[in-house]
């Protein structure tokens, strides 16, 4: 199971999650981050896990072309000097992560930021951004649409290519 593997990889790279915080990206990265956090809780004590949610709507570079509805941001701890793991479902052009980095820096100065995604759409990047932890890398063309469905919201766990 990819999620177990991602959780273990995070632990290998961040000893006991000391000085580490996990931040899921709204809206759809949350489903993945919720599960990874649940998996981590079976391995390390719950009080060691700092978990927040970040919405990047106000940091997008396309406000005037398409209006997005904001979701809740909830980061109840300081990220100053911490190692931050950002979690999202699909990495595609890299623009969402660019916005997330800008948003994150407004909360403080992390020591390090790494990126975890379930699906890495290789060869579709518009910005120099790469994941540190990836569930699966797939090769797609621009006209493809990749959607990760989650039981919590879409009734079924699956990755579909539309």
């Amino acid at each position: 199971m990819s999620i177990q593997r991602l959780a273990h990889q995070m632990l290998e790279n961040n000893q006991d999650l000391a000085n580490t915080v996990i931040i899921g990206l709204q809206p759809r990265g949350i489903f993945l981050s919720d599960r990874i956090v649940a998996a981590l809780k079976t391995i390390v004590p719950a009080e060691k896990i700092h978990y927040g949610r970040l919405d990047i709507t106000f940091y997008r570079d396309d406000v005037r072309n398409s209006l997005h509805i904001a979701n809740t941001t909830d980061i109840p701890f300081s990220i100053e000097g911490k190692s931050v793991i950002l979690i999202d479902d699909v990495l595609y052009t890299g623009r969402t992560i660019r916005a997330a980095l800008d948003a994150l820096l407004d909360f403080g100065r992390p020591a390090k930021v790494s990126l975890c995604v379930l699906i890495d759409r290789r060869f579709s990047r518009e910005l120099p951004i790469q994941p540190d932890f990836a569930g699966k890398a797939i090769d797609t063309i621009i006209t493809d649409k990749v959607k990760v469905n989650w039981k919590e919201k879409d009734e079924k766990d699956e990755v579909v290519l539309v």
Binding site: F58, V63, S66, I69, A70, T73, F107
Partner: protein, 310 residues
């Protein structure tokens, strides 16, 4: 989801869904305002002019802060220190400003309907920051946001609007908004300050008895007595008004419940509201001011998202 309108001229033109969208977006901006860096880059490429033909402290500063927190470029215009004093017409002034490539105009004017007139003649999006005795939509939105924040709901809430209903654009916008959102409204004041057909026109309850309205309501929104808009005396003296309709601690003590006190500002202390009530634990007047920035950020953000459509 987006707003059904290109401008914010009044609550009258909004749908219930628009109001909900503005309030939920405002809640997200309120969170932004708690961050170490209280600024987001959303409107980096948007230029906004604040066109104030009438004096204002709170609204102008609140709009300007909201614009800056959204990273917009801001131009300020105060009629008293501009060419309007030399006789330039409103349309000429605005067309000149627009040729400097402005996307949004925030306007306050002493003539009712001035922003509606502009909206017909210029391509920029207009936000009404108060027009004469017509509407003050962002105030009604921040009032609703503050009520919801304090009491947890708007639907079914009992709101008393007290004072100079006749000259108050805050009252009219509040009545439209609360009605659309399913709250119950009672207006209270001296008969000379309440328009005659208000009950028939807007479906609100009208009473001249302050104590009765306070006992009924959950929230009391107290309005300012606007002497500058009364060209003939409508009550005999401010002292008499205070005796009959002023909100005093002694009046609140007679109630068998606690109610929330609101006021759009500026307060005439000792006229419509006594100091001990205005500064008391049930007053959310300063929360209203704080929420004003978040609500105005939401309005500007949602309208700027539509400036590319034409």
């Amino acid at each position: 989801m987006k707003l059904s309108t290109k401008h914010l001229l009044g609550i009258k033109d909004l749908q219930k869904e628009d109001i909900q969208l503005i309030l939920s977006t405002a809640a997200q901006f309120k969170e932004v305002l708690q961050r170490p860096v209280k600024k987001v880059p959303s409107l980096r490429d948007v230029t906004i002019v604040n066109l104030f033909y009438e004096n204002s402290t709170r609204t102008r500063m609140s709009f300007e802060l909201a614009e800056r927190r959204l990273s917009a470029d801001v131009l300020n215009f105060a009629a008293s220190s501009s060419s309007a004093a030399k006789g330039e017409t409103l349309l000429d002034t605005v067309n000149n400003i627009l040729s400097m490539k402005v996307d949004l105009v925030v306007m306050r004017h002493s003539a009712s309907g001035a922003p509606h007139f502009l909206a017909k003649h210029i391509p920029a999006a207009i936000v009404n920051a108060g027009d004469g005795i017509n509407e003050h939509p962002t105030q009604a939105l921040l009032d609703a946001f503050s009520m919801q924040e304090r009491t947890g709901r708007i639907e079914g809430l009992k709101v008393a609007i007290i004072g100079d209903i006749m000259h108050s654009r805050v009252a009219l916008s509040n009545m439209y908004l609360l009605k659309k959102m399913g709250a119950e409204i009672t207006v209270v004041g001296p008969p000379t300050l309440i328009p005659k057909y208000l009950h028939e026109a807007l479906g609100v309850n009208v009473t001249y008895n302050l104590q009765e309205a306070l006992q009924w309501c959950d929230v009391a929104n107290v309005l300012r007595i606007q002497l500058e808009r009364q060209n003939q005396p409508l009550f005999s003296s401010l002292r008499e008004y205070n005796l009959a309709y002023g909100i005093k601690q002694s009046v609140l003590n007679k109630l068998d419940k606690e109610i929330v006190i609101m006021h759009p500002g500026p307060i005439n202390r000792g006229v419509e509201l006594d100091s001990d009530v205005a500064d008391g634990p049930h007053s959310i007047i300063l929360n209203q001011v704080e929420n004003g920035v978040a609500v105005r950020m939401a309005v500007l953000y949602l309208l700027a998202g539509r400036t590319n459509e034409n």
